[in-house]
């Protein structure tokens, strides 16, 4: 039953033909009924399963969820997420109250490899490897960390600053899609 609900939620019109993608959509499970479908939904899940050119939702260039540290999954709002491609073209967005962020193709379409950093204060935390083709952070940053995954995206692993970083409550602005 939950598989059916997930498919309906993402593939509303039944137009996704790729069986692998249909399986990926099913694996997402149902929507959380307490969360409105929009910028706050499905935090920590692979956004690109639905939000891609061959999905059944608005396409994203990149999307993901940022947590405070490599341990606990504490989402952090208002983190600057900055992208720069091989040509030096940049784009910046921010996380919302559940740590979600997204980039639309109309806002930024990189030309080639893209590096990304997350930043709350003056010190950015930059991913060492570039992104080449993946929409979802979770595709490479799934929990738990292991041979095929680096673990969830986090802001810092500096124990001295962790306690000064906290979550904030969601507000009306967090519901607004761009």
């Amino acid at each position: 039953m939950s598989v059916g609900l997930a498919s309906i939620a993402c593939d509303r019109l039944g137009i996704v033909q790729d069986p692998l993608r249909r399986d990926a959509i099913a694996a997402l499970g149902p929507e959380d009924k307490a969360v409105k479908v929009g910028p706050r939904h499905r935090a920590g899940q692979p956004c690109g399963v639905c939000h891609s050119a061959d999905g059944d939702a608005d396409s994203f260039t990149f999307a993901g969820t940022v947590y405070r540290d490599p341990g606990a999954r504490m989402p952090i709002a208002d983190i600057r997420v900055t992208f720069v491609d091989t040509a030096g073209k940049t784009f910046e967005t921010k996380t919302n109250c559940v740590g979600n962020f997204y980039v639309k193709p109309s806002e930024f379409t990189p030309g080639g490899a893209t590096w990304v950093s997350v930043q709350l204060t003056d010190v950015p935390y930059t991913m060492e490897s570039p992104i080449h083709r993946e929409v979802s952070c979770t595709a490479c940053h799934e929990d738990p960390a292991g041979p095929t995954s680096a673990g969830h995206v986090f802001l810092t692993d500096d124990d001295n600053t962790l306690d000064s970083i906290s979550s904030r409550a969601c507000g009306p602005d967090d519901e607004v899609s761009r």
């Binding site: 490897s129 080449h132 490479c140 041979p147």
Partner: protein
């Protein structure tokens, strides 16, 4: 490490045992130029030339940031499967966030690259690297064949020179090192 890699490792470390399942004749073979390896399986009537293993770790390091990331060929279900310290790990206890590329991972990368099109690779190697675009590895990288990962190198750039030197029997250490250091433009401002 897989059984074939263990056999390869044994053959590399003990030339006396090269009559084992996998025979690796490096520069000692009189008919084989010093810049090539010859791979032969005793029970298979086939011998293929391949670029040398020695020095390949520099080539693998060059491939890592452009080709071997987790969202590209750092995946187990790819024909060209690349392992690395910042990508797919061979050790089940390792993660992409830690450590250097391990010898077993370089071995696995070598086998993956030379096994992609073994006959074509043998022909290119036998020709001293002439007409390298016979290799899909080169065509994909240059995107002269459709490549979902896009264009990763152009003729004459660091990664291109690194790969072409290798299939021609040399290691261009400078080019490979530069390609392995792929970084964001103006990354200091990030």
């Amino acid at each position: 490490m897989s059984a074939s890699l263990r056999r390869f490792e044994a053959a590399r470390s003990n030339p006396v045992q090269t009559s084992a399942l996998l025979v690796v004749l490096l520069a000692s073979a009189s008919a084989t130029p010093a810049c090539q390896a010859e791979l032969a399986w005793p029970d298979v009537p086939l011998a293929l030339r391949a670029p040398l293993y020695e020095g390949f770790e520099k080539v693998a390091d060059a491939l890592q940031p452009s080709c071997g990331t987790l969202d590209c060929h750092g995946q187990k279900d790819r024909n060209l499967r690349l392992y690395g310290g910042r990508g797919l790990r061979l050790d089940p206890a390792a993660t992409p966030s830690e450590g250097e590329t391990q010898p077993a991972e370089y071995d696995a990368d070598y086998w993956s690259v030379i096994s992609l099109e073994p006959e074509v690779m043998a022909a290119v190697v036998a020709d001293g690297g002439r007409d390298p675009e016979r290799l899909i590895l080169i065509r994909k990288g240059r995107e002269t064949t459709r490549h979902k990962g896009g264009k990763l190198m152009s003729p004459g750039d660091d990664l291109d020179r690194c790969l072409l030197a290798w299939v021609a029997g040399n290691i261009d250490e400078a080019a490979c090192w530069m390609a392995s250091r792929l970084a964001a433009p103006d990354s200091s401002s990030m």
